[in-house]
Every structure is written in structure tokens, then in C-alpha cells.
Symmetry: C2
Subunit: 254 residues, 2 copies
């Protein structure tokens, strides 16, 4: 790796640096397609993740590559952008430059920070240590692998215990995840894991508020709720997670 190298080609047009190749960063890049600027898009990964379908990777109905695409391919549609893979470690406001890991300095005229969000554990004790967040491709794969490793182990060594999957948060991802897990149990497992007893697999969806899919129209909320119940999801509305332990969650009714 070069030390203290500086990547700021001599330019006559304004240089826009966009940090983050997610929905936000890409929207900016695309809007500037016809603008008289040079853009540098920076992300720590060389792929974009379509987060709304992460739950399908986690439940093994899509491959990770089906919901991600190569960020460098953006140049096939737009030639005023270049891509840099790196992690921003510092911003120098006076010098108008950012510092990437590996001591790479990138100068900018305009800087757009769209470096995304991550799971919010709301200070619940144990949540960060013992739950599996679902915001990144690697997290979806970790969840999928852990689930199937447990099923394979039970298929070989006998299913002594109940499997309990607890999904916290009944927003879109929580509802989709709980529903997909229930369909996997009801429809797939009798074929794929005939050694296991689906009635010993329990899927619980915990939500602090009174509704699933709170931002949606009441009719849609009710429909989603009925569909989850029809699939046998154990729905706990108005229920707060007090603590997450290595082998369970402590709930408190509102």
C-alpha cells in the first residue's frame, strides 16, 4: 500500500465526493449525471446492497448476489463518476479533504455523506451482544448460516429441543422475516427436514407498538397481521424487550 498518497487529479470542474454507495449516495450520483462535475463515489464495499430484500437472503430464498451489484458498473451508465473502495477515517474541513484507511487523502469541492444506518438496539441490555442484526449482506448470511447449521445438527443428532426464533420489530423487515420463516417451517421443512418436527419450531414477532407495519394504512396493517397469524407466527404486540440473554429474550407487556 502506498503511504500518504493523495488522490486528487488536476481538475477544472468541481469535484464532488460522495461517501456511501447505498440508496442515498447513488441517488446523488445519478442526479449529477448531466452536471458539469467530476464525482468520486466511495464505499467500503465494491457492491451496493438492496436492503429491503435482505430478509430473503437470511431465509435462503435469494442468493446474496441477487440483491447486490458491482458498484463499479455504474460507469457503464455514467462517465463523470469514478469509484474508490475505502473507509473514511477522518475529514479535514480546512483542507477540503477526507482521509481513507491506508492513508489515502481525497480532496473535494463538495462532500456528500450518505454513509447509512445500522441497527438501533435502543440500549436494551444484551441486545448488541446476543441478537443478530439484519442491515448488511454479511449479517444476512450469518443469520442464514447459523439457522441452517442448527437444523443440520438437529437432523443428525436428534431434535431434543424446541427451536425458538424471536424477531424484534414489526416494521417491513421484521414482518417479512417472521413471515418467511413461518413459510419455511410450514411449507419447506416437511420436505427438506423430514427428521424434524415443525411443531417444535416457534416463530415469535415482538413489537413495542400496537400494530404491525405502523406507517401503513389500517387496512394493510390488519391484513398483514391476519396473514402472520394464519402462518402461525406468535405475534406479541404492545410488548417491550427488556433484555436479551444468550438463550432468550425477557419481555414486558406494555
Amino acid at each position: 500500500m502506498a503511504q500518504n498518497s493523495s488522490i486528487t487529479p488536476i481538475r477544472v470542474r468541481p469535484h464532488v465526493v460522495v461517501v456511501g454507495g447505498g440508496f442515498g449516495g447513488l441517488a446523488v450520483v445519478r442526479k449529477l449525471a448531466k452536471a458539469d462535475v467530476d464525482i468520486t463515489l466511495i464505499d467500503r464495499h465494491n457492491y451496493n446492497t438492496f436492503q429491503p430484500l435482505l430478509y430473503q437472503v437470511a431465509t435462503a430464498s435469494l442468493n446474496p448476489g441477487d440483491i447486490t451489484w458491482f458498484l463499479r458498473a455504474i460507469r457503464s451508465k455514467q462517465d463523470n463518476v469514478r469509484f474508490l473502495k475505502g473507509t473514511v477515517v477522518d475529514i479535514n474541513h480546512e483542507a477540503h479533504s477526507i482521509l481513507l484507511d491506508g492513508d489515502i487523502t481525497v480532496g473535494f469541492d463538495y462532500l456528500v455523506l450518505a454513509n447509512g444506518v445500522t441497527a438501533n438496539f435502543f440500549g436494551v441490555p444484551g441486545a448488541e451482544e446476543y441478537s443478530m442484526p439484519l442491515y448488511r449482506r454479511s449479517q444476512a448470511l450469518a443469520l442464514r448460516d447459523r439457522m441452517f447449521a442448527a437444523l443440520e445438527d438437529a437432523a443428525i443428532n436428534g431434535q431434543n429441543d424446541n427451536f425458538r426464533l424471536v424477531v424484534v420489530g414489526a416494521g417491513a423487515t421484521g414482518v417479512e422475516t417472521a413471515g418467511a420463516l413461518a413459510e419455511m417451517r410450514n411449507l419447506d421443512m416437511p420436505t427438506t427436514y423430514p427428521e424434524l418436527d415443525p411443531t417444535k419450531v416457534h416463530i415469535t414477532l415482538v413489537e413495542m407498538g400496537q400494530h404491525v407495519l405502523a406507517p401503513f394504512h389500517p387496512n394493510l396493517r390488519e391484513y398483514a397481521k391476519r396473514q402472520l397469524e394464519k402462518r402461525g407466527v406468535d405475534l406479541r404486540l404492545g410488548t417491550v424487550v427488556k433484555e436479551v440473554t444468550p438463550d432468550g429474550v425477557l419481555l414486558e407487556k406494555d
Copy 2:
């Protein structure tokens, strides 16, 4: 994990154990679909790999999940088979049983060993240590990741060196791999890695024999050879690899 557990349900029909969920093992399982037997299919992975397309995973034109499928899904077409994930560590011929890792014993009336093949290094010094074989999904991913990590590094830190990719063996996989790499360099890199100079990326295909695709009709061999040359693959026929070192291969002309 259960210790010394034995998985041999009481059966009245002959029990056929098939080790290996590749082309060979699956052909046996399917042929026995209507037979009056119970089959146990055992593989160390719970997926089947379509090996002829491994080169496309290695060169990033297919996702690993596009060339693999969940072996447990075989029960959706055939109900006299069950699947066990495990690695065979011993065979007890007298007792008619095999031992899997984790001390699992599986009895059989008939045993089919179809546990596959692996890369043959032909005793070439250094080949096993320093080359990357292409026989398994994990190996294709390792090759892909190493290649793209090198490209990303050069894109950030500057391309001081030539990239040299040497493919050994001009059978179907070698020819496909070299051709796909050349197309990646010629067609994709100018868009995806504009920072890099494609003329500094060299793809060499080394073959001991006098022909590419030796088992095929001479017309087809010639066609494949011309196509590789057209794509700028540096073809070395009648050339033996004497040694593989950490940073190169030592060749000897026949």
C-alpha cells in the same frame, strides 16, 4: 453432539447409502427412485455444485448460488431418499456400516462411494502451495476474491506492476477460465477499472499437450485456439510447468 449415536432406522427394505452428492452420487439416487429401497445420501455440504460452471463464479459472472442447489430439495422429487450432512471418516466392512465425523454410525446393505475428485498437481513442486485449484465452490470464491482484491488495491494505490494470471491445463475449465479472464480484461475493465491499464494485464494458458481441448474434434480444437488468440490469451502449447513459486511459474518447452 450426541456421542456414538447410530442412525439406522429399523427397515424392511434394503438400505442403500450413497456417499457424495455430485454427478455420480445423484445419478445413483435418481436411478433408484422407483426401486424398492431406502436411500441415505451423505455429503459434507448440504448443496450440490455444478462444477462445469465454477469458472464463471471464479470470474464473477455467476453467483455461487447460481451453480449450487440445496441437496435436501431432492426429496421434493423422490421420497425414498433422506439426506445426511457429514464427512465419512471410516468404513466398517464387517459390520456393514460407515462412521461419520461426530461419531455417527450409519449401517448399510449397499454402499456407493461417489466422493469425487480433486485437483491433481502431478507432483509439480510448489503447485499445491502456490496455485489456486478450481474444483470447489469455496475455491472459485477464493480465486475471485483474490483477483478483485488485487484490482481494488491497484486502483487505489496505483498500478505499479503488471498483473499476470497463469492458467495451467487447457481442458474445458482451463480454456473457459482463460477466455473469461481475457473478456473481463478486454470488455469490462475499461469501464469498471478505468484507473488500470488493460495492456498490463496478461493472461497465459499453459498446456503440456499440443492442443487445447484435446478430447474434442480437431475442428473444434482449432476454433477454440483461434478464439483464445483473438482475445489475446498468451497460449503456450507443448509446455510443461516445472515448478510453481510464490510469484511465478517455471516453464519448460517440450
